[in-house]
């Protein structure tokens, strides 16, 4: 069973690129990696999902090395509104044996 490990917290400044890494050493062949953003007293919001290599959308990039034992969420040019908790999720197993392994979350604080 995959276990995910993330840094507890990170600080950065407006305009910088932020990279948050999640470790998932025991990821299974059919597991996907997904990242979510959560603001206080709200439900998490999907950011990006990937299986291998690099995925990019309008808000972030996700880098997954060939061994898939880690993944890095990259947020380009962050702003104060990016201050939130970011969760890594490893999910797989199909509908009949669904396994969701959430990381403990990384609290990202963006400073002016």
């Amino acid at each position: 069973l995959a276990k995910t490990t993330q840094p507890i917290s990170m600080d950065s400044y407006e305009g910088q690129e932020v990279n948050i890494t999640c470790s998932h050493n025991n990821i299974a062949t059919n597991d996907y990696i997904t990242w979510y953003q959560q603001f206080p007293s709200q439900g998490p919001r999907f950011i990006i999902q990937g299986y291998k290599t690099k995925v990019t959308n309008e808000v972030a990039s996700l880098f997954i090395p060939a061994d898939r034992k880690s993944s890095t969420l990259s947020l380009p040019r962050v702003s104060l509104s990016d201050t939130a908790v970011y969760y890594c999720l490893v999910a797989g197993g199909g509908d009949s044996n669904y396994q969701l392994i959430w990381g403990a979350g990384t609290k990202l604080i963006i400073k002016p």
């Binding site: 979510y36 998490p44 969760y87 959430w102 403990a104």
Partner: protein, 112 residues
């Protein structure tokens, strides 16, 4: 477009009292549905998930139960609440074989 509703938004209940939280999804059919709990300052704990009407899988043994009486309705219940049941309860749904989940606004439960 799809929307997910949860109610109530906040709830204060005494120890030993029953609980019923409801979640409904609009704009989709046969979604996978999930109940999560989030303790203060902590990550997400998957409690139950359902792939169809009457099909419930439990991830964590506890005094909570879940039911899915209709395709787009998911109910979390307890006969007798414990202090440790306090937390932020989130309902989520996903469609198909992907792993992108959509979360509701959550219910803040305080057991006194």
């Amino acid at each position: 477009s799809q929307t997910i509703h949860q109610w109530p938004a906040t709830l204060v209940q005494p120890v030993g009292s029953p609980l019923s939280l409801e979640c409904t999804v609009e704009g989709t059919s046969n979604p996978n549905l999930y109940w999560y709990r989030q303790a203060a300052g902590r990550g997400l704990q998957l409690l139950f998930y359902s792939v169809g009407i009457g099909q419930i899988s439990s991830e964590v043994p506890q005094n909570l139960s879940a039911s899915r009486p209709q395709d787009r309705q998911f109910i979390l219940s307890s006969k007798k609440l414990l202090l440790s049941d306090s937390g932020f309860y989130l309902c989520a749904w996903k469609f198909g074989s992907g792993y992108e989940q959509y979360f509701g606004p959550g219910t803040r439960l305080t057991v006194t």
